[in-house]
Symmetry: none
Subunit: 400 residues, 2 copies
């Protein structure tokens, strides 16, 4: 029996409310002796670390740097090594394109074809506006191929996402991308017999687009890669018998939440926006996922001060969350994004769970080093969801 089966069997409905605040990329590394968390002034988070139980979590396992997809799946109690979200799926979620069970999606590039060779895989990084115009024109011209509905959404510069919607589409396709410049264009090849029709639709699409773009100066063809479909993934309601609501600003997190069957509420980018939306919706759900992005963005930019400011911004709304009296309040992160590294990292996430059924660790402050001393110890991130459900009384006893 695995956790999912156990969750289905043991979870029970009750009125208790769980708030999970994900401060994206929160964990850091010392710069001049202090991490971003150690440097920031966050009295409210410190209060939580005093009154709550603390620990550290590894998103996938020790040493593995996760993308946002696996990191969030783990936080929601899904095994990030079992459920893999293809690049195309994540890109689609990232541009806000809705993806259903029949959809095949891929990442696309505009590219430059000359004398039968791909001479620029990024079409000179055309302006986003040109990209948008081209996507719109293609969309008007090519809507359906062999009963399959086609949707394009422009991304930044030369990038776009394409969705093929129809019956019996398969993702077992090689990239229609030579990967290197100076090579001829390649077709998507079916990697299984079932994918043959999908390959022919995809290649037909590329051909039609290339004919349509033939007079464009640089963006005169497209490359498609990362063909993927949605994995069959049980919803959070199905597993945990909860009514979950996601409050997020970025399309990717909203898309990911929708994938897991959460209701999604779009909010502004500030911490205040999160608190306001939570207050408005608090009556109607029993699980709330709040996503705060600024900490991660600042970490990716390598800006210590900006990350410190973002931590202080999110700290300021903690009293508003507490005023709602959630039965369980969890503050953690999906992964670390140390400003020192300007990237996601493999370092564990600081974790606080505040609940009447968990002891106070009485830690003096919410920092990575203090969390290492917390009573929850060092856990895989997928242990967080069971702990939250348990703390909320939403899990029955296992066995007699």
């Amino acid at each position: 029996m695995n956790w999912e089966e156990l969750a289905k069997e043991l979870s029970q409905v009750n009125p208790a409310k769980i708030v999970l605040l994900v401060i994206d990329g929160l964990g850091g590394l010392p710069v001049d002796g202090q991490t971003e968390l150690e440097r920031a002034n966050h009295p409210n988070l410190n209060q939580l670390a005093w009154h709550g139980s603390c620990g550290l979590t590894d998103p996938v396992f020790p040493g593995i740097t996760p993308g946002s997809g696996p990191a969030h799946l783990a936080l929601f109690g899904y095994d990030p090594l079992k459920y893999q979200l293809g690049r195309g799926i994540l890109e689609a979620l990232g541009v806000g394109l809705e993806v259903g069970p029949n959809d095949l999606v891929a990442r696309g590039n505009f590219a430059t074809l000359k004398n039968g060779l791909i001479v620029d895989r990024r079409a000179g990084r055309i302006a986003t506006e040109i990209n948008q115009t081209l996507c719109q024109k293609i969309q008007e011209k090519i809507k359906i191929i062999d009963g399959v509905e086609i949707t394009l959404v422009a991304g930044r510069e030369h990038r776009f996402v394409v969705r093929f919607r129809g019956e019996n589409l398969h993702e077992a396709l090689s990239d229609a991308d030579p990967q290197k410049e100076g090579q001829p264009q390649v077709e998507a090849k079916p990697l299984t017999p079932e994918a043959e029709r999908s390959a022919s639709i995809v290649n037909n699409f590329i051909y039609q687009v290339t004919v349509f773009l033939k007079d464009e100066p640089v963006a005169n063809t497209i490359l498609l890669r990362g063909f993927s479909k949605l994995p069959a993934i049980p919803s959070m309601s199905e597993l945990y018998k909860i009514r979950p609501l996601a409050l997020a600003n970025y399309p990717m997190y909203k898309g990911l939440a929708k994938l897991l069957g959460m209701e999604v509420e779009s909010v502004g980018p500030s911490a205040e926006d999160l608190a306001t939306s939570l207050e408005k919706n608090f009556m109607f759900f029993d699980f709330f996922y709040l996503h705060f992005k600024k900490t991660d963005s600042a970490g990716e930019d390598g800006k210590v001060d900006k990350k410190v400011a973002a931590i202080e911004e999110i700290d300021a709304i903690i009293p508003r969350l507490l005023a709602l009296k959630p039965d369980v309040l969890c503050v953690t992160s999906d992964h670390s994004t140390p400003a020192l590294l300007k990237a996601h990292s493999w370092h564990p996430n600081p974790l606080i769970i505040l609940s009447s059924s968990l002891p106070a660790d009485n830690l003096p402050a919410f920092t990575e080093r203090n969390c290492a001393q917390g009573s929850l110890g060092r856990l895989p991130a997928k242990a967080v969801m069971p702990l939250l459900l348990a703390a909320a009384g939403k899990l029955k006893k296992y066995g007699a």
Copy 2:
């Protein structure tokens, strides 16, 4: 997807160098209130505990006392419950007998046969010199049976190892050993149809040896048990894209390293020998496994002072390791060997990892109790290798 698949996908070559110093049997238990580590004077290891990240590892899982085989496999990132090295294989590695993929090996005893019964399973524990002479004589007489090449290597007292080298040999054989005295000799029985020929070669060998030894006073037959072949085990280079070198003194550790595809350098038994060999080879590899045996031997002997001295001996070379400026330096053990117990034990291993990408735990000394407070927490030993690779920048991001 499991760790091995993940490692193959995520590992990347870079110039960073990792030094893994295994102080065999390091962990201990208090005698008069202090463990061997707490008693020893090891200022250099203490410095590492101050500047590095610390933790405790369980070789297999909590409560399981491992042999050297599983304990080392775990440290190198292999699941010790997935890969099992047969007793014959470990015995062969222990006497320095090379084992290849076609080889079937077994542990042997000289024994005493009288009136058709095994009256002494150890032939009165004959002197090692007599054993060596007998093995040599048998070797000269019996070299090949049915195209299978036979090699004997004497161990201590009545023990030896025999290797059968040839095509299509199978390990599914019952022991050719009655296990109890006063019983008739038994044949090796094939446990699968494919093992029938192997059984007949093994039994033919026992028969020929028994005829040959018929005039010996006590060692007039042999018993064979623990038939085993090499498991199919991926190399460390295949998994991690590293160039690993093992520096060890004892045959078993050298054999085990060879099994995992490491280059092996024989060194003397002292800590100084390890440091000198590392200095000589540091340019040519990017992963170094240093094995120090004296701590374990002293623990097995129940000699606290001797183990303390061994810890102080290894402590003295830490500055020489640091002078090479490895990107990652890890000091840990394969398993604990408390002098109090005179044996391997299930207690976790103290662990330090020193790297610019890991925070300083600022622990006051390198001891079991302090390591329990370290930021790495309590980990399975198989998490060490992912952490070392991550700290060295040798693992890419998982998922988007």
